[in-house]
Symmetry: C2
Amino acid sequence: MSDKINPIRETDDEARGLARDLLTGAATAALGVIEPGSGAPFVSRIAFGLGPQGEPMTLVSDLAVHARALRADPRASLLIGAPGPKGDPLTHPRLTLRASARFVARDDGRRDALRAVWLGHHPKAKLYVDFDDFHFVLFDIADGLLNGGFAKAYALDANDLRVI
Amino acid sequence: MSDKINPIRETDDEARGLARDLLTGAATAALGVIEPGSGAPFVSRIAFGLGPQGEPMTLVSDLAVHARALRADPRASLLIGAPGPKGDPLTHPRLTLRASARFVARDDGRRDALRAVWLGHHPKAKLYVDFDDFHFVLFDIADGLLNGGFAKAYALDANDLRVI
């Protein structure tokens, strides 16, 4: 039975707008990576934001499991959108991104611009942004899956998800 | 430099209590799975709760990406604990579980008890709990990583995480 049902609706401007709103409004994300060695999935919370060109990004410590994992295998998945306090949380919109992670080297010419935008949205990060073990990571989006609530799923490509 | 630092603290009763509080209080989780075919990570939101013996569980539709993925590869990671509205979200406690998923068949003798407990905590699920494509999934926990805030990480084993 399930094989005959396609639960994905046709992508429209409302879906694109909702996805972009989730991207613009998120300060955190759940990051999924592949753990080196075991190959098992691993999910952790990261700070999240958009860079000067709207590129999804984070700031991570090399001490974190997810940072070591992404250096070994850049494939990442990001879940964005927090459930609200009322009603069935599965009716609240959320967005899964399939992406690839790129670490920004300390001497990369883009770092100053990324740092400025990041601290604008995450002012408390000024306490650790310049620690030796912290690095910015940019996520190149392959595609996304928007779940706008029960039976409201949409597949989105990288263009649908472009904020700027 | 980073290689010389072990960011994991010794597990104590405070850490165990915090982890159990997160497990008991969670109505949703971010679930990480391995996508069939690509082998890439995929994170989505699921409803979350504890069964009659305190076993972590969810209710999923076979139409969902994560259900198909778990049927192909039961390895799962669950992120539990929502960031609060104030302060740096990375200072708010969260728990990552490494687990293995077991689907509960419709004719499994435990289903009635799981269903009763589930609907007690997720009353809105009565709208779809008995749909043909919905199944309960139990998570056997291997271990966990608690992040109680900046520089407060703890490794927890399955016993540390036992609620009942």
